[in-house]
Amino acid sequence: MYFKNLVMQGFKSFADETKLEFEPGLTAIVGPNGCGKSNISDAIRWTLGEQRPTALRLSKMEDIIFSGSEARKPLGMAEVSLTVTNEDKKLPIEFTEVTITRRLFQSGESEYYINKAPVRLKDIQELFMDTGLGSSTYSLIEQGKIELILSSKPEDRRFLFEEAA
C-alpha cells in the first residue's frame, strides 16, 4: 500500500483546492508558525475517519470548515480526498487504486465516498482497520503529544499495544 496524494479544499486554513503528492521515504513539511502544517496532518487523520473533535483541535466538528479570513468569506463545505495504491491488496477491497473522500457541510451533514461510490463512515474506518492507521494509533502522532505515552497512566497506554496486536 502506498499513499499517492491528498487533495484538500475548504479544510481549515486550506481554503483553495490544494494537492499534496506523496513521495516514498522521508518527507519533511516545513514553514512558519501557524501556516498550516499541522492542519495537513489533521486532514489525513480526518479522512481516515477521526470522529473526535478534540483530536483535531476543534471544539466542534463544524469548525473544520474554512471560516473565512480578513479578505475572504467563510466556505460552506470542507472536502478532503486521499488516494492510495492497493496493489498488495492490503486494503480489503478489489480496486488497485483507492480514493477515499470525506465532506462536511456547514449544515452538519456529512458525505463519504470510496472511489466515488457513496459509503458510510464505518466503511472507511473498517477499510483501514488492520493497517495500523486506525484512529487511536501509533502511526499518527499529534503535535505536543509524544510524551503522553510516558506520562499517561499504566492502564491508559495499553491501547497502543493492543492496536499493534
Binding site: 500500500m1 502506498y2 499513499f3 481549515k12 486554513s13 481554503a15 483553495d16 490544494t18 494537492k19 499534496l20 506523496f22 513521495e23 516514498p24 521515504g25 522521508l26 518527507t27 519533511a28 513539511i29 516545513v30 514553514g31 512558519p32 501557524g34 501556516c35 498550516g36 502544517k37 499541522s38 495537513i40 496532518s41 489525513i44 473565512g68 479570513s69 480578513e70 479578505a71 475572504r72 492490503k90 493497517t131 495500523g132 492507521l133 494509533t137 501509533y138 502511526s139 499518527l140 502522532i141 499529534e142 503535535q143 509524544i146 510524551e147 503522553l148 505515552i149 510516558l150 497512566k153 499504566p154 492502564e155 497506554r157 495499553r158 497502543l160 499495544f161 493492543e162 499493534a164 496486536a165
Partner: protein, 163 residues
C-alpha cells in the same frame, strides 16, 4: 486473546530496548506488566535508564530524554506491525543537536520501508529527509503549499542568513 497479546508485548519489549539503546547509545529500557495474572487488563510500566545513570522513576528524566524514550517506544511498537504510512508532528521539538542526528539515523531506516511524513522546524531533520514541502500563508489566513524546489531555496537562504 491472551497469547496474542503476550507475544506482541514481548516483541515490543525487545524492540523498545533495542531502539532505546541505539538512540541513547547505551543504557537500558524495559516494559513491565503490573499484573502478571491479568495480562488482558494489566497496566504497563515503563522503565528507562540512560547510559551512566542509575535507574530511577521516568518522571526524573529531562524533557529531551523523555521525548527520546517515547520515540523509542513508539518505534518499538511500530516495528511489530508497521503501517505503510506514518505522520509525525514535531516529535523532535525537545531534542538537542546530538540527539537529532541519532534520531534521524533511525528515522531514515524506518522510512525505507514505510512512507514517513514529519512536520518539523529542525534543520537536522530537514537535511535527513528525501523530499520537502513548504507551507506558507502569503495571503493571511489562507494556507498554500509551495513547490519543493522553492522550499529548498528558502532553506538555503535561511542557512546563509544565520551563519
Amino acid at each position: 486473546t491472551r497469547s496474542l497479546f503476550s507475544k506482541t508485548f514481548e516483541q515490543i519489549r525487545e524492540n523498545f530496548n533495542m531502539v532505546f539503546t541505539r538512540l541513547f547509545e547505551g543504557g537500558k529500557a524495559d516494559l513491565v506488566l503490573l499484573d502478571e495474572r491479568n495480562i488482558l487488563e494489566s497496566g504497563i510500566e515503563i522503565k528507562a535508564r540512560p547510559p551512566g545513570r542509575t535507574l530511577k522513576s521516568i518522571s526524573l528524566l529531562s524533557g529531551g530524554e523523555k521525548a527520546l524514550t517515547a520515540i523509542a517506544l513508539l518505534f518499538g511498537i511500530f516495528m511489530v506491525k508497521p503501517s505503510p504510512f506514518c505522520v509525525l508532528d514535531e516529535i523532535d521539538a525537545a531534542l538537542d543537536e546530538a540527539n537529532i542526528s541519532r534520531f534521524t539515523r533511525v528515522l531514515v531506516e524506518f522510512a525505507k520501508k514505510s512512507q514517513f511524513i514529519i512536520v518539523t522546524h529542525n534543520r537536522g531533520t530537514i537535511e535527513a529527509s528525501d523530499t520537502m514541502y513548504g507551507v506558507t500563508m502569503e495571503e493571511s489566513g489562507v494556507s498554500k503549499l509551495v513547490s519543493v524546489k522553492f522550499a529548498q531555496e528558502e532553506i538555503e537562504r535561511q542557512r546563509r542568513k544565520s551563519s
